[in-house]
């Protein structure tokens, strides 16, 4: 099944923010916005729910820290006790640096892996480029056909009110972003 996709490009981030606010009020939902740099306040204006990545980060950190503590306890107090400076086998102050390092390491790597996996950013993968202008100097908004209120005429009207430099309708096959063939990239 394919659906309609409405695309609007803006020259300024404020135009994009205002258009997003108006469109949201009119009941539209967004596929995504593509911008050359992070625009402050855009996720809130689009009504995107807060990222769950902090939870992944926290749980990975917790796992790493606990594993480090348990591992060190097992190795130095149970499996192979070594007398170091007459300290007790289970010397928790000595375990802290490694616990800290493993917490940070697993939190960092875990978050990165979760991010790459969630956004399907496998290294070497051809990125689905919707609009090349967003890599340059344009702020691009994509609105999918989601229900009966989807009205390209109205969309065009609202976007033009906010100085859209270009609007376009295309077909999005199977809910995937459309890749632009290499020869078309310069034309955008």
């Amino acid at each position: 099944m394919s659906r309609q996709l409405f695309i609007a490009a803006f020259k300024h981030e404020d135009d994009l923010l205002h258009a997003v606010a108006d469109l949201r009020q009119a009941g539209y939902v967004f596929k995504d916005a593509y911008t050359p740099y992070p625009v402050h306040g855009l996720p809130e204006a689009m009504g995107i729910r807060p990222s769950r990545l902090p939870w992944v980060c926290f749980l990975c950190g917790l796992t790493g820290g606990l594993l480090a503590l348990i591992g060190q306890y097992y190795l130095s107090a149970v499996e192979w006790p070594i007398n170091v400076g007459g300290k007790p086998w289970n010397s928790s102050p000595a375990f802290i640096p490694i616990t800290f390092e493993l917490t940070v390491l697993s939190a960092g790597l875990g978050s990165l892996a979760a991010f790459l996996w969630r956004y399907k950013l496998i290294p070497g993968r051809q990125p689905p480029v919707l609009e090349t202008g967003a890599n340059d100097d344009q702020f691009v908004l994509a609105i999918p056909e989601h229900n009966a209120t989807f009205n390209p005429q109205e969309l065009k009207l609202i976007c033009n009110r906010h100085h859209a430099i270009r609007t376009e309708q295309r077909i999005e096959p199977d809910g995937q972003a459309q890749s632009i063939p290499a020869q078309q990239r310069g034309a955008a």
Binding site: H40, G41, P54, F58, G85, P93, A94, I96, P97
Partner: protein, 390 residues
């Protein structure tokens, strides 16, 4: 620039009366203490005065850091740390008086004749006049920088001259470097020599970590109180609180890191001239104080501030900041008081009472400074960025 409604601050009249009442109570308690338990009362005076000093110096570090990093977000709030730093002259004077009047009670090395031969350089170092001169020298340096930076900031209210910002950027950089050395010296002199056979080269940075964390917490508390009282209402947004929360979180982590670094090095090498400090503080009733200190300064604020929801919520952030402020007092208490109260006491009333005078004095001085200047640096070139922070 658009015309800006400049908020000015006026405290509720009842507040000042209550603070003055507390001071009166504290003065009575301290006078009684000076007669019956002069040693711990003097320790309490040093503790209370150094708490105020930490607030002032920490505020100066906040100001200096935002100048040298050209931080935009904090400019609208700069008058708050400036008002905290404005209390420094009086605080320094109080510390100097306490040190001059009490050093023969506070510092056991003053009367010690246990060595037949004393190294001449050590003898010079121990001379009361030199001890006080070192303290005064550190204070003069701090006060000169404070005076210069605050004066430039106030001058800019009139002239809007951007060169004043550049001048303060330069001053801030030098101040931070000089503070690192002078604060270490002061900490070694005033805190470490309370237990003269104990050595820790990390005590200076440990003291700094605590006072800076606490002054960020104080800035949060004052910001939120001002906001609740109706000032700064259009100015402080959740984004500002979020940044202040991140600041506090960051230096909460730093405090934990420094606390552990000092502890771990001493625990690991396990040599008598270093361990005496922790043997006194991690045994008997003092162990409870050590646990409370680590809980309030690190564990609770660290896990509490992990989530961005807490940092943007003024009620939760306020509570955590108050806990940190209490925690820093307990931290200083656990540095200073065990050396004079001995191993078997945990709560020494005489060393608590002087804080009843000194804390209200700090608040009164800060309120006075807050009243005496516009609540925002109105013509600072960074202000617009700060107001549009989101």
């Amino acid at each position: 620039m658009t015309t800006l409604q400049l908020p000015t601050f006026a405290p509720r009249p009842g507040l000042l009366t209550r603070l003055r009442l507390l001071i009166a109570l504290g003065v009575i308690g301290t006078l009684v203490g000076l007669i019956f338990a002069p040693k711990t009362t003097l320790g309490g005076l040093l503790l209370g005065a150094c708490y105020n000093l930490g607030m002032g110096l920490g505020a100066m570090v906040i100001i200096a850091l935002s100048y040298i990093t050209k931080a935009g977000w904090s400019t609208a709030l700069r008058r708050i740390p400036e008002s905290m730093a404005a209390t420094l002259p009086l605080t320094c004077l109080i510390i100097l008086i306490v040190l001059a009047a009490g050093f023969h009670q506070l510092y056991p090395w003053f009367n010690s004749h246990e060595h037949g031969h004393v190294d001449p350089s050590l003898a010079l170092w121990r001379k009361p006049a030199f001890f006080l001169a070192r303290a005064a020298g550190c204070m003069i340096i701090w006060l000169l920088f404070t005076h210069a930076i605050l004066r430039n900031s106030r001058k800019q209210d009139q002239s809007g001259d951007v060169r004043l910002t550049h001048r303060n950027v330069g001053l801030s950089g030098v101040f931070l470097m000089v503070l690192a050395l002078t604060l270490s010296l002061a900490t070694f002199d005033w805190f470490m020599s309370l237990q003269p056979h104990w050595i820790s080269t990390m005590l200076g940075v440990y003291h700094f970590a605590g006072l800076f964390q606490a002054s960020i917490a104080a800035m949060i508390v004052i910001t939120i109180l001002l906001q609740r009282a109706g000032f700064l209402q259009q100015i402080v947004k959740p984004a500002h609180l979020h940044d202040l929360g991140k600041y506090l979180f960051c230096f909460t982590t730093f405090w934990g890191y420094i606390w552990y670094s000092q502890y771990m090095l001493i625990w690991y090498s396990n040599i008598p001239e270093e361990t005496s400090y922790f043997i006194l503080r991690h045994n008997g009733p003092w162990l409870a104080v050590a646990y409370v200190s680590v809980a309030l300064n690190w564990a609770i604020p660290f896990f509490g501030l992990l989530s961005s929801t807490t940092k943007r919520n003024d009620r939760l952030l306020f509570k955590l900041a108050v806990l940190v402020l209490i925690g820093h007092w307990i931290d200083l208490y656990s540095i200073i008081v065990p050396s004079m109260a001995g191993p078997s006491t945990m709560i020494d009333l005489w060393s608590v009472l002087p804080s009843l005078i000194l804390l209200p004095i700090f608040i009164l001085g800060m309120l006075r400074a807050l009243r005496g200047s516009p609540l925002m640096p109105a013509r600072d070139p960074m202000l617009v960025e700060s107001l549009h922070h989101h």
